[in-house]
């Protein structure tokens, strides 16, 4: 499965701004906390959700690799 943004549920205030900016509509509020929909394959990792989150509850981290290294890290675990 493709790498997804990381949601820190304890920091989410449920403001819903990330849901409003998510172009592929893969974010929803569940119990007033933002979550992904069941099958969020449409996420293009645009990082807009991270940009608008005022509490830092959504993170879109990047690996930085050289072209020759890319093949080794493609399937690294999502820690």
């Amino acid at each position: 499965m493709a790498r997804m943004p990381i949601i820190c549920h304890e920091q989410c205030t449920g403001c819903g701004v990330c849901i409003a900016v998510c172009a592929p509509h893969i974010l929803v509020l569940r119990n007033n906390i933002v979550s992904f929909i069941e099958e969020p394959q449409e996420c293009n990792y645009c990082a807009q959700c991270e940009a608008v989150c005022s509490t830092g509850a959504i993170l879109c981290p990047y690996e930085i690799v050289t072209a020759s290294t890319a093949k080794y890290t493609e399937h690294a675990p999502n820690l």
Binding site: A51, Y62, I64, V65, A67, A70, T73, A76
Partner: protein, 232 residues
């Protein structure tokens, strides 16, 4: 529980100790776990325990009165989190926060004093590590003073790129993954500016952004960009 010996072997402070001395040190250490975003060290507070990073990634940072964050360093396994405060007895000059699940090794500063007595090789090692830290901070001042944002972004990408040797060894990234916010906080600018710089580098064919990865396509061009200084 005393820290695992494999963690101590990774700590540059103690890497030149004999196995017997390492075991002696180990008796005085303990392990502690932290989860993502937990503060391990708080700026301005005293440190009675010296912490070393055993696994994971930790950022040290300062926050301005307006709430702007400046990341000073991203620590990797083996790095000390608060050695300056422990060694000079003053308050912590920065805070340290876990960037993911983290294990640290701790040793009380009082125990450290006992263990360092009669072991001048460790004292010399500590001097070398602190001297290297001075170089890093001078480099940071130079970056913030004399490089434009594009050059700083280029330098950061080169600095944090996984090497092929590392990746072959572990089959996974050894370097911490960075958000655009963290990159901005490291180079003293805003997140949006980092985003623009990355898109600009991509448009020039120097990097490629592939979902969660920034791939350096033209290493030499990125290096030239990182070497550019502002003319003042």
């Amino acid at each position: 529980m005393a820290a695992r010996i494999e963690f101590l072997e990774e700590i540059p402070y103690f890497s030149e100790l004999s196995p017997a001395d390492q075991e002696d040190f180990r008796q005085y250490t303990f392990e502690k776990c932290f989860s993502r975003n937990e503060l391990i060290i708080i700026e301005g507070e005293p440190s009675e325990t010296l912490y070393f990073l055993a696994s994971g990634a930790v950022k040290t940072f300062k926050v301005s009165p307006e709430g702007k964050e400046q990341i000073l360093r991203i620590l990797r396994p083996g790095d000390a989190l608060n050695d300056v405060a422990v060694l000079d007895g003053g308050p912590n000059y920065a805070s340290a926060q876990a960037m993911g699940p983290v294990i640290v090794c701790g040793i009380l500063s009082s125990d450290l004093g006992i263990l360092l007595a009669g072991r001048p090789t460790i004292a010399l090692k500590i001097i070398r590590i602190l001297a290297e830290r001075v170089r890093q901070f001078v480099s940071l001042v130079e970056d913030l003073s004399f490089r434009d944002v594009s050059s700083r972004v280029a330098k950061l990408l080169l600095q944090y790129a996984d090497t092929e040797a590392d990746s072959q060894k572990k089959m996974a990234s050894l370097t911490p993954r960075l958000t655009q916010y963290e990159m901005a906080a490291m180079i003293g600018t805003a997140r949006e500016v980092v985003g623009r710089s990355l898109r600009f580098l991509e448009a020039e064919g120097i990097i490629r952004i592939e979902r969660h990865r920034i791939i350096i396509v033209d290493y030499e061009a990125l290096k030239r960009r990182s070497d550019e200084r502002l003319l003042r």
